[in-house]
């Protein structure tokens, strides 16, 4: 039953997700370096630069990078791979099948933090960089806002799967979501075609 009720699964996972991100990646968030976004937008109007700056604050404050920037092993443990900043699950990262869920342990993630397995199947975090082919480059601002409001790809398509907590993000104001979109469109594009999710078959 739960396989088809991903929205419910996402809601159930939200407390878990916030806990995981808060504990496991707290040092990673601190290490996220400043991107050249605001400087780039500085070539436009001051208002545009301020919008990007606000978006940068929100993206970092809301933990977007925890899942959308792959982790790599550094001298002090896992750290975000800044060459792949916000570019989602790396296309060249091939994984074995996820472990079988046992008892109450129903969700698992890979070491990069970009592949998640649960009752819905396997989901891979999206490329949020402005690459036109593989990222958000071809998305409009309205599509981005609608995606977070409806939990559907570009606001109209397939469901956005757990553990993406689109529901609380969907409560953000239009102004904040526009700022997030402006920032995401200002960062360095990374060409990375994230694989499609694998949908669990009912009963398995």
């Amino acid at each position: 039953m739960i396989q088809r009720n991903w929205r419910g699964a996402t809601r159930l996972l939200m407390p878990v997700m916030f806990g995981v991100t808060a504990i496991a990646f707290v040092s990673a968030a601190d290490q996220t370096p400043s991107r050249p976004a605001a400087q780039k937008a500085g070539t436009g109007t001051p208002a545009a630069a301020a919008l990007v700056k606000r978006g940068e604050y929100l993206v970092k404050n809301h933990g977007c990078t925890d899942c959308h920037t792959p982790q790599k092993m550094g001298a002090n443990g896992p750290e975000p791979d800044q060459a792949r900043y916000l570019s989602g699950h790396p296309a060249d990262l091939k994984l074995p099948p996820p472990p079988k869920a046992e008892g109450p342990w129903i969700v698992s993630a890979d070491a990069s933090g970009t592949a998640w397995s649960g009752p819905w199947g396997i989901s891979y975090t999206a490329n949020l960089t402005p690459d036109p082919e593989t990222g958000l480059g071809s998305w409009t601002e309205q599509q981005f806002i609608e995606a977070l409001r409806t939990g559907r790809h570009q606001g109209r398509g397939r469901q956005i799967l757990p553990p993406m907590p689109w529901q609380p993000f969907g409560t953000m104001t239009d102004a904040d979501l526009k700022a997030v979109f402006a920032y995401l469109h200002s960062i360095t594009p990374v060409k990375n075609k994230v694989p499609d999710p694998v949908i669990a078959e009912p009963g398995k």
Binding site: R11, M14, P15, Q143, R149, R152, G155, R156, P168
Partner: protein, 353 residues
């Protein structure tokens, strides 16, 4: 522990309600309170609620659907733009869904002074009550066939389709209520007793401003063949709500919306934006949206033939492939599109001379 987890889940669910979602408090708590029925016990529909049936119905996994429209006294629909009707404040619409002869849900739309309201009411098993369905829908409600259950949509899913159209109302427009109904439309329904057409709405004073030509000659899809007419009508209804050249998915450059008034010789948007056009979403063996003469190489066919949630189109509102529609679209691609492409190629060559 279980109580703690449940409490956390409930708290998360409450926090998860998108800000734009309508407050439940603004919606009638039961279907009985929406004004559909004159008498609930006998299920007698109030006489001011007019039945209607679009000539190209949306595929809903074979549900039996019954629909009603209500326009407040003294008000009317403004159809001066025949492609985008403006419904007055107070407009109400209902669509009842039944599977295997039993009512399952009745969807309700109202244009209130504050904006459009979308809700659905879930019938109980003995059809004695129909309370407001939960905000997040019901993933598995009535059985459609063994192993497959109907999903009652969440309120955000209502918006995913209805907010894609400026008119907000999807099944009532100039083409859908034309008296020149397409006999080959998949799952075409007979007009219900007392069902309204364009002419009937105008005569009742409920539709104003419609260009008179649509009353002189009821509108139709002027296609080269009956197959093309039905295919374009099907795509217009089932895909052309989101896939338009002007809506939020306009950036895809892919429109399946049919524009009224196209002469037979003109290529509709479905041909111009799909035939031979590369598809961003790819499936094995198919790279273009529509491949003339080759349905197996057409991504559109692969997607309407799938119910894998990642691949399927439409992405919501259906768990079963519409086999009749797949046969129709395959026939259109095989029999009609090669000639369409030849004509287009010839036109291109002549233009270059």
């Amino acid at each position: 522990m279980r109580a703690t987890v449940s409490a956390l889940a409930v708290a998360a669910a409450i926090a998860a309600i998108p800000a734009r979602t309508l407050s439940i408090g603004t919606l009638p708590p039961r279907l009985q309170d929406t004004g559909l029925y004159a008498d609930w016990q006998s299920k007698t529909i109030a006489s001011r609620n007019l039945p209607y049936s679009p000539q190209y119905p949306l595929w809903s996994d074979g549900a039996g659907k019954t629909r009603w429209l209500s326009i407040p006294r003294g008000k009317w629909i403004d159809a001066s733009n025949p492609e985008r009707w403006i419904f007055p404040v107070g407009t109400r619409l209902w669509k009842e869904f039944a599977f295997n002869g039993h009512r399952v849900e009745t969807r309700f739309i109202e244009r209130s002074a504050q904006g459009w309201l979308f809700a659905t009411y879930q019938w109980n098993e003995d059809e004695t009550d129909a309370p407001l369905a939960p905000e997040f829908g019901v993933a598995r409600s009535a059985e459609i066939r063994p192993g497959v259950r109907h999903s009652i949509p969440s309120r955000t899913d209502c918006l995913a389709c209805h907010a894609a159209s400026d008119a907000r109302v999807l099944g009532i427009n100039t083409l859908q209520l034309s008296a020149d109904r397409d006999p080959n439309a998949p799952h075409a329904e007979p007009v219900p007793e007392g069902g309204v057409s364009l002419q009937a709405l105008v005569e009742r004073g409920l539709l104003r401003g419609l260009p008179p030509r649509y009353l002189r000659v009821p509108p139709r899809i002027d296609a080269r063949t009956p197959t093309a007419r039905a295919a374009l009508g099907y795509l217009n209804t089932n895909c052309g709500i989101c896939h338009t050249s002007t809506g939020q998915l306009a950036s895809l450059g892919f429109s399946l919306r049919y524009s009224l008034g196209l002469p037979v010789s003109a290529s509709p948007a479905a041909v111009l934006t799909a035939v031979g056009r590369p598809s961003h979403f790819q499936v094995p063996g198919a790279k273009v949206r529509l491949a003339p003469g080759n349905p197996d190489a057409s991504v559109l066919v692969a997607r309407i033939s799938s119910r894998n949630p990642v691949t399927q189109m439409p992405p919501l509102g259906t768990h079963l492939v519409d086999d009749d529609a797949v046969r129709l679209i395959r026939k259109w691609i095989t029999d009609d599109l090669p000639a369409v492409q030849l004509a287009a190629d010839k036109h291109t060559k002549e233009t270059k001379r």
